[in-house]
């Protein structure tokens, strides 16, 4: 037991002391902060509200259409936002006015010019001039407002009373999609999809990242011949287990730091945004139960151990780190196949493809957490999936341990598939 601890401790402490670990651990929270703060900050820089308020509405319709749009954009007659400026011109001088305004647009003195003419009244055609790099939301908001005002005007024209016309035309559609789970939980479908996708990607990245560390570590030990010294002191299965657990510990620590950083950022989001002068957009996060966290943790741990054993097996049969990188392709393909079918699973989380993939041990660590985030998965499927994954993980560990012992001491020639299979069945 003490020898296993010695191997775990070496794997853990040597990695945690490395420059790689310190840099990536710090970089993670910085990246998360950038992802969290970046979009609202960028949005503020190109806020539709601010840009729309500065757009100049050139109204050559000879009606009050321009003013009506300005009032509408400011939030109605009782609105608090600043309305855009309206320049009413005669249709005859519209072209000349537009030309003179183009120059101001080019120097970005004006964020936009919205031109309304007789054509606008006749068939809804209007023109919006924007400088390069303007927010696209400006166009959508102006178009929506124009549509409302035109509809209202037309309703009045055909004899509908003005308040009735406003009642009909000002109707704004807003559909909020909510999925109801069997346990009565409510969740936003879009957020669920994003969270499910993020969790699947996170698991994929964690398995590949730390699995690769196991692969490189084994290949390095074999190439530098240090494996022979260690194997003279500890059995191969102890060395293998210690390596997987030690690197697993590094993963737990690093993922723990990243998760804590993310949680801290999310909890203090309002305060951080306020400090930066940003308005926090409310993102309804899905309710997370302890059972979800435990299940997710189980898939992460089992998935990591399963793939770490496979990566270790590949590392032990290769004669150099470069060869190990090439030889890992079949293992990577097993993982990548889950990611390749992610889109299908996202669209139909309880469909045949997603269900089958969440049962196959090699894709289950990614596919089942994804499904759990998107839909209600029957308990029997979860039990079957975890069971199959656990059994496969134990089988792979045992097989890898046996191959490991023989392959680590074989230099030069890469063993054939037949030889590897024979070692797997060899007695301890």
């Amino acid at each position: 037991m003490d020898k296993l601890l010695a191997v775990i401790e070496r794997e853990f402490s040597e990695r945690v002391r490395s420059r790689w670990f310190i840099l990536t651990t710090l970089f993670g929270p910085l990246l998360l902060a950038a992802l969290l703060i970046g979009p609202p900050w960028l949005a503020m820089r190109t806020r539709d509200d601010a840009d729309v308020a500065k757009v100049l509405i050139v109204d050559a319709t000879g009606t009050a259409l321009g003013s009506a749009i300005a009032v509408d954009l400011a939030g109605g007659v009782l609105g608090t936002a600043t309305p855009p400026r309206v320049l009413e011109v005669n249709a005859a001088v519209l072209a000349a006015t537009t030309d003179s305004l183009r120059g101001r647009l080019l120097t970005k003195a004006l964020p936009g010019v919205f031109i309304l003419s007789q054509e606008t009244i006749d068939d809804g055609r209007a023109e919006l001039l924007l400088p390069d790099g303007s927010a696209l939301g400006v166009s959508e908001r102006l178009a929506a407002s124009l549509e409302r005002q035109l509809r209202q005007a037309r309703l009045v024209t055909i004899g509908v009373a003005a308040p009735d016309a406003a009642f009909v035309a000002q109707l704004r559609i807003n559909v909020r999609t909510t999925q109801l789970g069997s346990d009565g939980r409510e969740a936003s479908a879009r957020v669920n999809m994003l969270v499910g996708f993020a969790v699947a990607m996170l698991l994929y990245i964690a398995i590949v990242l730390y699995g690769q560390i196991v692969l490189r570590s084994v290949a390095e030990e074999k190439q530098s011949r240090v494996a022979e010294v260690v194997l003279a002191s500890v059995p191969a299965r102890v060395l293998l287990s210690g390596k997987i657990l030690g690197i697993g510990g590094v993963a737990m620590l690093q993922l723990g730091i990243w998760t804590s950083a993310l949680a801290t950022l999310l909890v203090n989001r309002g305060r951080i945004f306020a400090m930066l002068g940003l308005s926090a957009t409310s993102v309804p996060l899905p309710t997370v139960h302890l059972s979800d966290v435990l299940l997710l943790g189980a898939y992460l741990v089992l998935g990591y151990v399963l793939y770490a054993a496979l990566f270790a097996l590949v590392g032990s049969i290769a004669s150099s780190e470069q060869e190990a990188q090439q030889a890992q392709t079949p293992v990577l393909m097993l993982l990548v196949s889950s990611i390749a079918l992610l889109q299908t699973a996202l669209q139909e989380p309880n469909g045949t493809v997603a269900t089958a993939l969440s049962m196959i041990p090699f894709s289950a660590p990614i596919m089942m957490p994804l499904r759990l985030g998107l839909a209600d998965v029957p308990s029997r499927q979860i039990v079957a999936s975890v069971g199959a994954l656990s059994l496969t993980t134990v089988a792979c560990l045992l097989a890898a341990g046996r191959v490991y012992r023989t392959a680590l001491l074989m230099y030069g020639k890469r063993p054939t598939l037949a030889e590897i299979t024979r070692w797997m069945w060899a007695a301890d």
């Binding site: 011949r225 260690v230 001491l409």
Partner: protein, 329 residues
């Protein structure tokens, strides 16, 4: 630093008809060996003879296809044995990015030594191999910062840090400069004085000849010769031979003695230096006494013994000598 031990078992290593086959060839072919405790034992043979495979079998790094292996009186698969064995593999390697002390502490822990005890021993050995002291403490350097010779010393320290009873060294002197090789030889002799058993493989016959108490020569997976060094030499002695060098001009006085056919069978003259094959029943002591009595001035008188290299050639023939085999070193 090391305690002196008294062996409790008749054999340090006992191999009984052990075989190991690979896909295309037999690496170890019904090998039987008995190495008594407290000696330096040389496992000799050309590259690819099966020395490393035999060593790996002894250390339970590989399992034999046939035969039985006992180490320090226990089956080689006994897990308790690993802490009593020290092993320096032929292909050296350590964790390149780790500090010397941390590597040694790790290797000691794998052999059941506590960190505190390991630290005490590490200090002793680093000092003994001049890796600490005036100038610089290499104990805090990373392995990759060390020269090849220093790395070999660190690896040797890792082999003996836990004070093993049986020390197995696979080609320990290869790649070492003369100063480091001598330091290593002195340490090995010291370890024998303390009662340790040392088994080392080498293809350098003269190193083995100077250091080993007993040897086995392996060729193509088989033991072709095995025994105590003096017995092996006596067995291959044939007719007794001596080398005599007379001081200039005094050779003439010895002519009558050398012409005595009851004493001398054959003489190879090389000026004042003669290589003499004694007659049957004659002894080198008898010849020396006759020469001294005749007041001949003798510069050198040596009993000639066959070298291990010659014995190997005699037993296996020149065909057994492959690339990498050397009588010098």
């Amino acid at each position: 630093m090391s305690r002196t031990i008294t062996p409790e078992h008749a054999s340090a290593v006992r191999l009984s008809a052990v075989s190991k086959r690979y896909a295309n060839h037999v690496a170890v072919d019904r090998v039987s060996l008995d190495i008594r405790p407290g000696i330096i034992f040389g496992l000799l043979g050309p590259n690819g003879a099966g020395k490393t495979s035999t060593i790996r079998l002894m250390l339970n790094l590989m399992l034999p296809d046939e035969g039985r292996i006992e180490i320090l009186g226990k089956p080689s698969s006994d897990p308790a044995l690993v802490n009593r064995l020290g092993y320096l593999p032929e292909e050296r390697g350590l964790y390149r990015k780790m500090e010397v002390r941390r590597v040694l502490r790790f290797l000691a822990r794998l052999k059941g030594i506590t960190t505190r005890e390991a630290d005490r021993r590490i200090d002793h050995w680093l000092e003994r191999f001049t890796l600490t002291g005036a100038g610089r403490d290499w104990g805090t350097a990373k392995i990759e910062e060390l020269s090849r010779g220093m790395q070999q010393k660190v690896q040797f320290i890792g082999t003996v840090l836990h004070d093993p009873e049986l020390i197995v060294l696979d080609e320990p002197f290869s790649g070492l400069d003369p100063v480091n090789a001598q330091a290593l030889k002195d340490t090995v002799l010291d370890l024998r004085r303390q009662g340790r058993t040392i088994v080392f493989s080498t293809h350098l016959m003269d190193v083995a000849e100077r250091m080993c108490d007993a040897v086995a020569i392996v060729n193509r997976g088989r033991i072709v010769l095995n025994g105590e060094m003096r017995d092996v030499k006596a067995e291959h002695q044939g007719a007794a031979r001596v080398a005599v060098t007379f001081d200039s001009g005094s050779g003439e006085q010895a002519q009558t003695i050398l012409a005595d056919r009851t004493l001398v069978a054959e003489i190879d003259h090389q000026g004042n230096h003669l290589e003499i094959t004694l007659a049957e029943g004659a002894t080198s002591q008898g010849l020396l006494e006759r020469l001294v009595a005749s007041q001949v001035s003798i510069a050198r008188f040596d009993r000639l013994e066959p070298s291990l290299h010659q014995i190997f050639l005699q037993r296996v023939g020149a065909s057994g000598v492959e690339a990498g085999m050397s009588g010098h070193g």
